[in-house]
Subunit: 434 residues, 2 copies
């Protein structure tokens, strides 16, 4: 898909956004003053509600050892009998703030009272500044408006409500028989330069029991959300939730699993494509590895190499950096792995085989053009304050830079999705002072 | 030390640069045309020669699984009976180029013939573009001039000869009784945007036997060169060599070891301070850890966090990112480590204790000023082509941003040295097209 304008992208999003049966979403925005920095701020509170609480839900959370309060509460909710609603706020992530768990529980309890469900049937979710306290009273004050706004037509208002500085909302869907899975994601974004958070909510009207949902979600996140990197920094708040309203019989479990994986993979790619300062999306496939773990480690080493990222930003087919990134991973982590049959491919060209490069001016020119073609936009000069801003605020196309590392030493493979490193990223995270 | 001008820094370098007894250096520069990219280029060939070959030498090399040809040859030289000279070229690193080992050996053989020593007493060393072939004939043609230029006064010409786009030469010395250790380093630099290489040569006139030299070097590199990161990308050519001419009796082995560590640590810090686009040097000390390996992993996670690096670039005391970087490492690698007693300190302030932040507007203002004070220079706006260049070409001061992670869970510690991530780094590695 290609989108020439933001309007074209919005029109396409509308085609994805119909809510599955049994779900409603609503939101409310309000002004408040953070306790830590006494200047005006705004927060949006988004409610995702089931018409009736469901025992069939699944969630996975960050492995960061300093998880946010909503993650601590969310892990407890996994053993709750039912889930009836999710309350999501942006602006403050409620991480390591004094009294964070109690604040999250108070918001849940108020939402539960208004929705007439159990307090432990409400899942809290927060994204934004780390360390600040949630404004519990204004949030509870905004809940009636958000709940009054609940509607069953479109997930798009919720996809917008959970954004911070995401450039655009992210919605993906898949049909499974008479039912569907609809997912929304909040990608790598900042309000002030603070830690980005990835939040994903997957809604389905298919009747899939809890145990199957949890196993399917665990399988789906590994090759999708666990296979992406914008900047190698893992949030304290990452959360993926899957809720089933059970309105539509699920005839075929395998079809559900496959559809869930498609939605997760598409949202994961959306998160990277909308990552901070991203101008190129890069996909590194590692094939014929002795194990998937080795393939993943090599793919991550390539995707997270700052020098590789900078070369791609500059449309520079700097294949020496690709060799370096493979070699540093193997040399340090898997020193016994034989690389003598390793081949490296970028786009149409095999650039390395039998331990030596295959380069000439024609290959160089072809690869430069290939990288240029995958660019989402050409950078604009910085503004008067020296700040670089992305030149488009929608996903102009879905092309990626494709790299393959073929180890010729086994049957396993893993594919990692990442991006380039740009002036726009530095501006997003260094040039704005909080 | 602080240097207000490049001249002040040069004057200080001259005080460091007297060669130990028994060594001479010389160099020659010449023009050539690379086979792969038919445009004019220049190379400097530097020779470091002993007055008489020595059995007492040590070297450590990169762990990258695609090492350069000089590293492959260098590993063989470790078992040679004696070493008499090192021949170093810049511009081309001789990595994964067809026939690379043979090319390196031909240059060594010609140098040996002119110096009247064995061919396997010459160590080759190369830095620059990955993948290109060495221009063997022009290099052999330049060797007589380099050897005719050998002089016994100063190591500074050699320190300059091995530079690529290093901003300045790096020389450090230590006295041990009547003898000395003098070291030079080539830091993270690019001519075209290709992989940076770290090369270090340590020369001493002290009589220290080979076995002791090798053990002492292995001990010295771990807390110095193995404890730094400019961009987490490991070169295919990293090399540290230590040569002893044996002219001065070594009275006390422990004093030699301590002096060697001081020189290595100072050169390692020089490499970071002159790293590409570096505006802040950052030191992260991890204390009271269950093991040095855990302390090192946490320190590396903090130092290599792109979001932490960007915050420091912007003089932004974004302590949420410090917590994130510690938490992602521990959560993924050491999930059983208890962080409940962990404290985090930046400069003068403890910012995190008992699982929660300690922040207020006064702390924020003090930390911003602290970061600003550690800045090497304020960025200049980009040029007409949008390229950012460092505002100073010498180390303006030796201040660092000091961070401490105290785990309160053991007796081990490790300190990692790194830097910020800046527009100047992106310009160095993306804006210049090769």
């Amino acid at each position: 898909m290609e989108f020439a304008t933001e309007q074209e992208h919005r029109a396409w999003l509308a085609t994805q956004a119909a809510l599955p049966a049994g779900f409603r979403t609503g939101k409310a925005a309000f002004a408040f003053t953070p306790a830590e920095v006494p200047k005006p701020a705004r927060m949006t509170l988004t409610v995702i509600a089931l018409d009736a609480p469901t025992p069939d839900f699944a969630a996975v959370f960050t492995r960061n050892a300093f998880p946010g309060a909503p993650v601590l509460v969310g892990r407890r909710r996994l053993s709750a009998p039912q889930l009836g609603a999710i309350v999501v706020n942006n602006k403050i992530s409620n991480v390591c703030a004094p009294g964070g768990v109690e604040a999250a529980e108070r918001v849940c309890a108020e939402a539960a009272r208004l929705l007439k469900i159990d307090a432990n049937a409400v899942l809290p979710s927060s994204t934004g500044v780390i360390g600040w306290r949630l404004p519990v009273e204004p949030m509870c004050g905004a809940l009636p408006e958000a709940i009054a706004a609940l509607q069953a037509r479109s997930v798009l208002p919720a996809a917008e409500g959970i954004m911070t500085t995401d450039l655009y909302p992210k919605v993906r869907r898949a049909e499974v028989g008479a039912g569907r899975i609809v997912g929304i994601a909040k990608g790598a974004g900042m309000i002030e330069p603070n830690l980005a958070t990835m939040l994903v909510y997957l809604l389905t009207d298919l009747a899939v029991p809890r145990e199957h949902l949890r196993a399917a979600l665990a399988r789906a996140v590994e090759p999708s959300f666990n296979a992406i990197s914008v900047d190698s920094d893992q949030s304290t708040s990452d959360t993926v939730v899957l809720l089933a309203s059970g309105r539509v019989p699920c005839e075929e479990a395998a079809a559900f699993d496959a559809a869930l994986l498609r939605v997760c993979a598409a949202l994961a790619e959306d998160v990277v494509r909308n990552g901070e300062g991203v101008k190129h999306v890069v996909r590194c496939a590692v094939r014929h590895a002795p194990s998937a773990a080795i393939a993943k480690a090599i793919g991550k080493s390539v995707i997270n190499s700052p020098l590789m990222q900078c070369a791609i930003c500059g449309n520079d087919p700097n294949i020496g950096r690709l060799v370096m990134a493979v070699g540093k991973c193997v040399g340090n982590q898997f020193p016994d792995l034989d690389l003598s049959a390793c081949t490296l491919t970028i786009g149409p060209d095999c650039v390395f085989a039998n331990g030596a490069f295959r380069i000439d001016p024609a290959v160089e020119a072809r690869l430069s053009a290939y990288l240029k073609d995958a660019e989402l936009y050409a950078s604009k000069p910085p503004d008067a304050n020296g700040v670089f801003r992305p030149a488009v605020t929608w996903p102009a196309h879905e092309r990626t830079v494709e790299m393959t590392v073929d180890l010729a030493r086994g049957r396993e493979s893993f594919t990692v999705l990442g991006c380039d490193r740009t002036h726009e990223y530095i501006s997003e995270n260094a040039d704005y002072r909080s």
